[in-house]
C-alpha cells in the first residue's frame, strides 16, 4: 500500500497512553494501514511520567525516563509535532489546527490529551493571565520538575499542598534539596484513595520519622507575600511560613478540545467499549481523558488495556475486541515505603469480613476486605511481599483459602526473597541456567511477551523448574500488564492443542494407541519432539498392555533403560527392593563394577547402588552380568521405596516397614507416571526414611496402623506430605497408595510432581475420591492400576533381545564409497 492509499491517523497527545496506543497499533501491522501524525504539547519524545518523582529526588536522570526518544518517531515514519498543542478539532472538515497554525487532516483521530493538575481556588496564587506566581508550582511535567528543583535549592522551607501519592512523592523530592517540608492535606488522613485511617496514621508516623511535617484537615485560603512567597494562610486564620509551594491536589482530565467540537464530555470524554467516542465513529479516546462506563482512570494499567482494545479495533485485527473496564490494583512506593492497594479500603456493611494485621512500630499494616469469600479490597503497607499474589487473586476474583493468614504472610523460606522492584538486575533468578533478572526483563521488553517464550529464549526455568513462579512474576512485571498468554500452557503437551481431559477423551473415542496416531489425528500430522514423551506416558497409562510403543517417542533414558550423564555415558541402578540387599548381591555388583571398570560406585539418596559412567554399548552385558531387574532410576515412573529397619531390628519400630516397602516396590515397580514417584515407609513417626516428604509415604503408628502421606517433596521444592488416610493393614496401604497413584496418573499434567498436583487439586478433593469414593470411581481406579501393574515387563530383559536395530550402538561404520 502506498502513502496515498493509507488512512491518516492523527493522535492528539504524546503521553504514555497515546504512544502506547500507537505502539499497539504498529504491533498489529498499523504502519501498513496508517500514516501517523502526533501532536505533543511538550517539546520532547514520550517519557514515563510515573518516574518524574525519581527525577525530582535525583535517583534517576531525566534522560533515563524516556520511553520513545525522538528518533523512534522517525524510524516508524511518524510525524511528530513536538511542542505544538492541538488547538482545535474541526469534525466537519476532519481537520486539526495546531497552536502554531499547522493544519492536518485525519481519517481517524485518537484523543489522548491526558489530564492537568487541579489547582484549588486559593487567593494570591497567580501573577497575571493565569500564570502561577514565582515560587508556586504544579508537579506534572519534566519542565515542572526542572523548575521545582531549581527553586528548591534556594529555600529553607517548602510546602506541598496535597497528601496523595504524588504530593508525598514531591515532598520526598524536596527533602533531598535540604528543605524543611510540610505536607498540607484537606482530608483527615493521607492517601485517602488507597488507605484507611489506621493505615494512613502508620504511614504518617513513618514519614514523620523521615523528617516531614503534616497538617491535616487544612484548607489553604491564601498565599502570603508580596514579591516573594512567604507562606500560607488557612481558612481558620492560622498561617504557615514557607518560601515555596508545590501544588499536587489531584488531576482533572483535559476535555476542553473534545467539548468544543461537540463530543459528549462528563467527567471525561465519553467512550464506548471499543474506546470510540459515543458521538463520532472516527474518533477514539484513550487514557486519563477518557470516561468509560462512568469511570475515569488515573493509573497506568487500565491505559494499557484500553490501548490494546483500541488497537485491535482500529486496525480491524479484532472488531469484536471489548474493553470491559479495569479492576484497580496498585503497587507503589511512597518515599521508599512499599504500598499495595486494591479495591475498597473499608467494609461496606456488616456482612464484609475484615482481616487486619497492624505493627505500627515497624510501619507495617495489612488489611483484607473479604466479600462472599472473594477479595473486595486489600491494603499492604510497609511489606508488600504478598502483593503480586493478592493482585492476581483480586484480578481473577479467585476463591480465598480458609486460612486468611496465607494471604498476608509468606510462611516458609520464600519470605526471605526480596521484592522484585528492589532486586538488582544482576540477581540470578534461574540457578540452573544462570539467568539474571536483567536478562529476563530485557527479553520481555524486546517483545517476547509470554512466560513460555521468555523461558525458551533465555532458558530460565528449563532446568529443575523451581524458579518458574519467580520467572513468571518477573515477566509479568516487566510486561507491565501487556503479558500475552500462550494458550499452550493449558495443553497437556505443547504440540497438541488440548487440555488433558479433552485429550484423554479424544484418545479413547478415536482409539489412538500410538504417539504418531495422536499427532496425525489431533495435530494435523505435525510432530512436536518435546511433546512425544508426555504423550507416550499418557497413552501407556490409558491403554496399558494395548499401547503401541514407538521407541522414538521415548526420551533416550527410556530407549536404553539407563540415565544419561553429562559425558554421554549412562548410570545403571539395579533394583534392590526396599533397599534390603544381601552379600551375594553386593558381591555380584562389585564384580560387575570391576569387570567394566566403572569409574564411580555410589549409594543413592533412595538407598540404591549406582554404577556411573557406563558406555551405552556395555549396557546389555552389564545387565546380564548383574542378573537383577532394572531399578528404573531414569524414568518418569515409580522409582524406589526407601525403608527404615522397622520392627525387624529397631527398638522403636512399630510397624514392619521393610516388609511393607518390599511389597510396595514389587507391586509398583516400573509403573509409568506423569513424573517420577519416590516412595518410602517408616517404621515409626521418627520418620528416619523421610516418608513424610515423599510423593507417597507410609508411617507406622501405634496400634498396627499406617498413616499414608501424599504430595511430599524434598528436592528442588520442599513440602511435607498431606495425610491422606490411616490404613489398618499392609493390604490396605497397597490399595490406597495404588488408588492414589492411579488418580494422579490420570489427572496430573505431564511432569507435574505429586506436590504440584496436590496443591492444584487440594487434599480434600483427593481424599474424597480416593478414600471416601465420593465419585464412585474407586473400583475403576483399582482395576486400571492392576492393568498397569500387569503390563509391567523388566526392560533389562532387552539385554537378551534388543528391541530396535543398533539399540545400544555407540558408532556404526558406514558401508563406504560407491
Amino acid at each position: 500500500m502506498n502513502a496515498q492509499n493509507k488512512q491518516r491517523l492523527v493522535v492528539i497527545g504524546n503521553g504514555m497512553a497515546g504512544m502506547r496506543a500507537v505502539e499497539e497499533i504498529l504491533e498489529r501491522g498499523g504502519a501498513e494501514q496508517f500514516q501517523i501524525t502526533v501532536f505533543g504539547d511538550e517539546p520532547y519524545g514520550n517519557y514515563n511520567r510515573i518516574l518524574l518523582s525519581n527525577v525530582l529526588n535525583g535517583s534517576q536522570d531525566a534522560s533515563d525516563i524516556f520511553l520513545n526518544p525522538l528518533p523512534w518517531y522517525a524510524r516508524n515514519n511518524i510525524t511528530l509535532y513536538a511542542g505544538v498543542r492541538a488547538a482545535r478539532i474541526n469534525r466537519n472538515e476532519k481537520q486539526i489546527t495546531g497552536s502554531d497554525g499547522t493544519t492536518v487532516y485525519y481519517d481517524k483521530l485518537l484523543i489522548a490529551t491526558g489530564s492537568s493538575p487541579f489547582v484549588p481556588p486559593i487567593k494570591n496564587l497567580y501573577e497575571e493571565e493565569k500564570r502561577l506566581r514565582h515560587g508556586v508550582y504544579v508537579f506534572r511535567t519534566l519542565d515542572d520538575c526542572t523548575h521545582i528543583a531549581g527553586y528548591a535549592v534556594k529555600c529553607k522551607r517548602a510546602v506541598v499542598i496535597g497528601g496523595g501519592l504524588l504530593g508525598l512523592e514531591a515532598a520526598r523530592g524536596l527533602l533531598n534539596y535540604g528543605a524543611h517540608v510540610t505536607v498540607v492535606h484537606n482530608m483527615p488522613y493521607l492517601m485517602n484513595a488507597q488507605l484507611d485511617a489506621q493505615g494512613a496514621a502508620i504511614l504518617q508516623n513513618t514519614l514523620e520519622r523521615m523528617g516531614i511535617a503534616f497538617r491535616l484537615n487544612a484548607n489553604t485560603s491564601k498565599v502570603l507575600g508580596e514579591d516573594a512567597v512567604t507562606g500560607l494562610e488557612f481558612d481558620d486564620g492560622t498561617q504557615l511560613s514557607s518560601e515555596m509551594i508545590v501544588i499536587s491536589a489531584g488531576i482533572r482530565p483535559n476535555t476542553s478540545l473534545a467539548a468544543e467540537c461537540g463530543l459528549t464530555v462528563e467527567r471525561g470524554i465519553v467512550a464506548d467499549d471499543t474506546m470510540r467516542s459515543v458521538d463520532d465513529p472516527n474518533i477514539y479516546v484513550v487514557g486519563e481523558c477518557a470516561q468509560h462506563r462512568g469511570k475515569v482512570y488515573g493509573l497506568v494499567a487500565p491505559l494499557w488495556e484500553q490501548a490494546q482494545t483500541l488497537a485491535d479495533h482500529i486496525t480491524g485485527r479484532n472488531l469484536f475486541a471489548v474493553y470491559a473496564g479495569s479492576r484497580i490494583a496498585t503497587k507503589l512506593k511512597v518515599m521508599g515505603v512499599e504500598l499495595a492497594s486494591m479495591g475498597c479500603t473499608e467494609a461496606s456493611d456488616s456482612q464484609d469480613e475484615v482481616v487486619v494485621y497492624s505493627e505500627p512500630k515497624r510501619g507495617i499494616y495489612k488489611k483484607l476486605i473479604v466479600r462472599s469469600n472473594q477479595l473486595a479490597g486489600a491494603i499492604l503497607l510497609g511489606d508488600s511481599g504478598k502483593a503480586a499474589h493478592l493482585m492476581q487473586i483480586f484480578d481473577r476474583q479467585s476463591e480465598l483459602p480458609e486460612d486468611r493468614t496465607q494471604l498476608l504472610f509468606d510462611i516458609g523460606p520464600a519470605a526471605s526473597a526480596p521484592p522484585l522492584l528492589e532486586m538488582p538486575d544482576e540477581t540470578q533468578i534461574c540457578n540452573c541456567s544462570g539467568v539474571s533478572k536483567g536478562t529476563l526483563r530485557k527479553c520481555a521488553l524486546s517483545g517476547i511477551r509470554t512466560v513460555k517464550g521468555v523461558m525458551e529464549a533465555t532458558r530460565a526455568g528449563m532446568g529443575c523448574g523451581s524458579c518458574r513462579p519467580l520467572v513468571k512474576e518477573i515477566v509479568e512485571w516487566a510486561c507491565e500488564g501487556r503479558l500475552e498468554e500462550d494458550p499452550s500452557v493449558h495443553y497437556y503437551v505443547p504440540g497438541v492443542p488440548l487440555a488433558k481431559p479433552e485429550l484423554v477423551e479424544a484418545v479413547l473415542a478415536q482409539k489412538l494407541k500410538s504417539v504418531s496416531a495422536v499427532f496425525n489425528a489431533l495435530a494435523d500430522g505435525k510432530e512436536d519432539p518435546g511433546s512425544k514423551p508426555g504423550l507416550a506416558s499418557l497413552l501407556k497409562t490409558i491403554w496399558a498392555g494395548e499401547y503401541e510403543d514407538e521407541r522414538d517417542a521415548r526420551f533416550i533414558n527410556d530407549r536404553v533403560h539407563a540415565n544419561i550423564q553429562n559425558d554421554g555415558t549412562f548410570s545403571v541402578v539395579p533394583r534392590i527392593y526396599g533397599g534390603v540387599t544381601s552379600p551375594a548381591q553386593l558381591r555380584r555388583i562389585a564384580e560387575v563394577a570391576e569387570k567394566y571398570e566403572v569409574p564411580m560406585v555410589k549409594i543413592t539418596g533412595g538407598q540404591r547402588i549406582d554404577l556411573l559412567g557406563i558406555k551405552k554399548e556395555d549396557l546389555p552385558r552389564v545387565w546380564k552380568d548383574l542378573g537383577m531387574p532394572s531399578g528404573h532410576a531414569y524414568a518418569k515412573s515409580f522409582r524406589t521405596c526407601k525403608t527404615c529397619v522397622g520392627t525387624e531390628f529397631c527398638r522403636y519400630g512399630l510397624g514392619d516397614s521393610t516388609a511393607l516397602g518390599i511389597q510396595i516396590e514389587k507391586r509398583f515397580q516400573g509403573l509409568e507416571s506423569p513424573a517420577k514417584l519416590k516412595l518410602a515407609t517408616a517404621g515409626c513417626p521418627r520418620n528416619c526414611s523421610e516418608a513424610m516428604v515423599k510423593d507417597v509415604g507410609a508411617v507406622a503408628v501405634e496400634g498396627g496402623k499406617w498413616e499414608i502421606y501424599v504430595g511430599g517433596a524434598a528436592g528442588a521444592h520442599v513440602r511435607k506430605g498431606d495425610l491422606l488416610c490411616t490404613a489398618d493393614s499392609h493390604e490396605q496401604v497397597l490399595q490406597m497408595m495404588g488408588r492414589f497413584m492411579q488418580y494422579y496418573r490420570e489427572n496430573a499434567k505431564y511432569l507435574e510432581r505429586t506436590y504440584g498436583f496436590l496443591e492444584r487439586v487440594g487434599i480434600e478433593k483427593v481424599r474424597a475420591v480416593v478414600v471416601e469414593d465420593r465419585e464412585g470411581i474407586a473400583k475403576r481406579l483399582d482395576e486400571a492400576m492392576q492393568a498397569g501393574i500387569d503390563a509391567y515387563r523388566d526392560p533389562w530383559q532387552e539385554a537378551h533381545q534388543t528391541h530396535t536395530p543398533h539399540q545400544f550402538a555407540e558408532m556404526i561404520t558406514a558401508e563406504g564409497t560407491i
Binding site: E456, A457, R459, M462, G463, G495, S516, K526, E527, D528, P529, G530, S531, K532, P533, E550, R551, D552, A553, F555, I556, R559, I564, N566, D567, G568, T804, P805, H806, A809, E810, M811, I812, T813, A814, E815, G816, T817, I818
Partner: protein
C-alpha cells in the same frame, strides 16, 4: 586439497535406523549423526551438541526439529540453525533401493 567436487558415500540401509531416531555413523573416519525422520526423510549433522557436547543422535526428533538430550537445546536438522547457536548439517538422501547416501567432499592429493 578440497575441491568443489563431491561424491556419494553409502551409509547403510534406511531400516538400520528406527523411524524417528538417530544413530552415529563413522563416515570415512568422521563421526556423523544420521536421523531417520518419521516422514521418511533423512538428515545428517555433527554428532555433538555445541552447548555441552551432548550426543545429538540420542535426541528426540519431530518434523525437522532435533532436541539435544542433555539440556533440551533445539536445532533445525535441515539448516542447522538453533536458538543460540548452529550445528553443521550435511546433505543425505535415500536411493531407490532404500539406502542412505551422503554427499561427501572429494579430497584429492597435493
Amino acid at each position: 586439497m578440497i575441491t568443489k567436487d563431491t561424491r556419494m558415500v553409502r551409509i547403510a540401509a534406511l531400516q538400520s535406523i528406527p523411524a524417528g531416531e538417530g544413530r552415529v555413523f563413522l563416515v570415512e573416519g568422521v563421526p556423523v549423526a544420521i536421523f531417520h525422520a518419521r516422514s521418511g526423510k533423512v538428515y545428517a549433522s555433527q554428532p555433538d551438541c555445541p552447548h555441552r557436547g551432548g550426543p545429538l543422535a540420542d535426541g528426540l526428533t519431530g518434523g525437522d526439529t532435533l532436541v539435544c538430550p542433555l539440556h533440551g537445546w533445539k536445532f533445525n536438522l535441515e539448516t542447522g540453525k538453533g536458538q543460540n547457536c548452529s550445528i553443521q548439517t550435511y546433505h543425505v538422501e535415500t536411493d531407490s533401493s532404500g539406502y542412505i547416501l551422503m554427499k561427501w567432499p572429494q579430497i584429492t592429493g597435493g
